[in-house]
């Protein structure tokens, strides 16, 4: 097949599969935040990619500071920076919800436009502060290099770290959603906003927290992203369309759906990319997703939500 031997094909599938897993991680982290925001509030945040970029630049800045003032700390700073990335994106998200989004809940299409405007402004802010060129943070040495499983299979360590982060964050989100009182309130608001309000849940407060947490997760996505690629002012926006498709394909309100659809889209894209060209791999994947969505508009895992 395609002039490759069977063992070659096996290695290709493993390695492309692994690079698909890195893409899966980024898509999933982005989609998680978007899915809980969209699921609960019906709001599409076009600036979600820029929150990811905030996280990525946080790592870059903290890496610079660490290298400058605390060089001995360099191997460990990454974990603290992850929290910082979350916190900063969370804060900005909180502010954005307070200043803008909450005035537009009744007009979801308008939110889409307003957040697009926000994303333009944020991109220009990044460009003004960090310049138009892409930057890479100082990463600790242990993140570099790769792990040779066999002669033909090399698995990069940073990819594994990204996946570990993704699993941890996904686990945390699932735990928060299904095991905490905040999650209970979020789920109640998602299912029936009026009733949730009637039983004494402050839905506005829940909205604000959910939006901020969603943005925070995007920040973590950006932080994880820096280990596999460099960051520019428009890095985040390149992922936004794919992420939307992941969310819609997965069924919008379901976390399980987001995981499944991120996985299938990322894997399909990365394996097709190897056999076709880069562009065609992406085109074929997205086209298949759209055709499936046209046949099954509610996505893979739809949940029964009272509109």
């Amino acid at each position: 097949m395609f002039g490759y031997s069977v063992s070659d094909l096996g290695s290709i599938v493993v390695m492309q599969g692994f690079s698909g897993l890195s893409l899966f991680s980024v898509l999933l982290l982005m989609a998680l935040g978007l899915a809980i925001i969209f699921g609960q509030m019906g709001v599409i945040n076009m600036a979600h990619g820029e929150f990811m970029t905030i996280g990525a630049y946080t790592i870059y800045v903290l890496g610079k500071i660490t290298a400058e003032y605390f060089p001995t700390f360099l191997p460990y700073y990454f974990f603290f920076a992850l929290f910082a990335a979350f916190a900063l994106a969370f804060l900005v998200g909180y502010l954005v919800e307070y200043l803008m989004i909450r005035h537009l809940y009744k007009r979801p299409l308008d939110t889409l436009l307003a957040t697009w405007g926000l994303s333009l402004i944020m991109q220009q802010i990044f460009r003004t502060i960090f310049g138009g060129r892409e930057v890479s943070p100082n990463l600790p040495d242990w993140l570099m290099g790769s792990w040779s499983v066999t002669d033909t299979i090399d698995i990069p360590i940073n990819g594994m770290v990204v996946m570990a982060i993704t699993f941890a964050v996904t686990g945390l989100v699932v735990m928060f959603m299904f095991r905490s009182s905040w999650g209970l309130k979020v789920r109640a608001t998602t299912q029936n906003r009026l009733m949730a309000g009637a039983v004494g849940i402050n839905t506005k407060k829940v909205d604000r927290m959910t939006f901020a947490v969603g943005c925070g997760i995007a920040g973590v996505a950006g932080a994880a992203f820096t280990t596999i690629a460099s960051t520019g002012p428009t890095s985040g926006s390149q992922y936004i369309v794919d992420t939307f498709l992941v969310v819609v394909f997965g069924g919008a309100t379901s976390i399980l759906g987001a995981i499944a659809s991120a996985f299938s889209i990322a894997q399909a894209q990365s394996i097709l990319t190897f056999f076709l060209t880069n562009a065609m791999g992406k085109v074929v994947t997205l086209l298949v997703v759209i055709v499936i969505l046209m046949l099954r508009p509610e996505g893979l895992f739809s949940s029964k939500v009272r509109k």
Partner: protein, 387 residues
């Protein structure tokens, strides 16, 4: 007959005045005031206005926000560009290529014969038909697939956006067939008529303006029909219209396809006036910019959308010449500001304040209004000093 034209096509007195003002601006003021370079630029903006007008129909009246109007703009533009490119690549001017008679970018990409889907574009009749039919069919397929299954709102926006993004990637990826990221360039003649001369540019500008007015009149006619009322009813309470026994999806498909054709006309005129077509007028960013043109002009006003397009593009050109950094801030602010504070755009402002002033001037009450105001002020002042 005359009165139908007046009330339904022109839109009555208010509509007629708006059209007259627009025609005055497009056909008299602009050509007298601007040199041919600037006028050509305005012509380019006016082709975007087709897309903005189509968004007024689809988004403002139909209630579905299409973030993929660039798809149809691009399809129209590419159809036209393919015809012009084939005419520009005749045997004589491509004699130095390895395969003469095919467009230069195909030759650079080692393609040795014209792809089958390019063949029919040798004919101008086919091309003009294609400009109408291809986008309409495409929109029909998208619309039928989505609206029949009651997909709407944000979902529809996202999916149209994704399609715009896919189309861009496809055009860029298939360089040999589409010209890739540079697009289809070096277009020279239309049936032997050189489109790059000054007189041709004037003619195309007027043709473009005439088509735009025509499109606006057709849209007015559609909106003043029963269909127009149904569209409004649907936008505000879709379920009620459905329960009254109407097939809502068919109306949406119709308006979406009509919007697609209007955008495609704009795209074709763009190619003719600017002399090339490239994927940068197809993708996500141009598509969403078309939405802001319509939003600034007023999402419910056909003529307003044209003014909105002109204003935003003028701002873009002026700012990106002198302060390129500021432009994105301003554009972003425009998105947020229009949506949050002026959801009806320029047309809304005009209705709120402009008409009051216009009627004020008309009845010559302005003078007395100012007098009244001055007297009141004086009285208030006297009162204040008297105390």
């Amino acid at each position: 007959m005359m009165s139908t034209f007046y009330t339904r096509w022109l839109g009555g007195r208010q509509g007629g005045i708006a059209i007259m003002l627009l025609m005055l601006l497009m056909f008299v003021v602009m050509p007298l005031w601007l040199d041919i370079f600037r006028l050509n630029l305005v012509g380019k903006y006016l082709t975007y206005a087709f897309a903005a007008v189509s968004l007024v129909m689809v988004w403002g009246y139909g209630g579905v926000l299409s973030l993929g109007q660039g798809i149809f703009f691009g399809l129209g533009g590419y159809c036209m560009a393919m015809f012009l490119k084939l005419e520009a690549s005749d045997m004589a001017s491509t004699a130095r290529q390895t395969t003469p008679g095919i467009p230069d970018f195909m030759d650079w990409n080692q393609i040795t014969h014209l792809p089958a889907f390019w063949e029919p574009f040798h004919s101008l009749t086919f091309t003009i038909l294609a400009i109408f039919v291809v986008p309409a069919v495409f929109a029909y397929i998208i619309g039928a697939a989505m609206f029949k299954r009651r997909v709407g709102g944000v979902y529809f926006s996202i999916i149209t956006q994704a399609i715009a993004s896919i189309l861009t990637i496809l055009i860029i990826g298939q360089q040999g067939y589409t010209g890739g990221i540079n697009g289809i360039t070096d277009l020279k003649t239309l049936h032997g008529w050189n489109i790059n001369t000054e007189s041709a540019k004037y003619i195309l500008y007027y043709l473009n303006g005439g088509l735009l007015i025509g499109v606006i009149l057709v849209c007015r006619y559609v909106l003043s029909s029963k269909l127009g009322r149904l569209l409004l009813a649907m936008r505000d309470k879709e379920d009620r219209v459905r329960f009254s026994g109407y097939d809502v999806s068919n109306f949406k498909i119709f308006i979406f396809s009509l919007g697609a054709i209007i955008s495609a006309i704009g795209g074709a005129m763009f190619t003719l006036q600017v002399g090339f077509m490239s994927p940068s007028f197809v993708g996500i960013v141009p598509s969403i910019e078309m939405v802001i043109f319509a939003a600034v002009g007023g999402r419910m006003s056909l003529v307003g959308a044209v003014f909105g397009t002109l204003m935003v593009n003028y701002g873009k050109t002026a700012f990106s010449e002198s302060f390129p950094e500021l432009w994105l801030f301003l554009m972003g602010g425009l998105f947020i500001g229009v949506v949050m504070y002026f959801p009806n755009g320029l047309a809304g402002l005009w209705e709120k304040h402009g008409q009051k002033w216009a009627s004020c001037i008309r009845r010559l009450q302005c003078v007395s209004a100012v007098k009244n105001w001055a007297e009141n002020r004086r009285a208030a002042k006297l009162g204040a000093t008297g105390e």
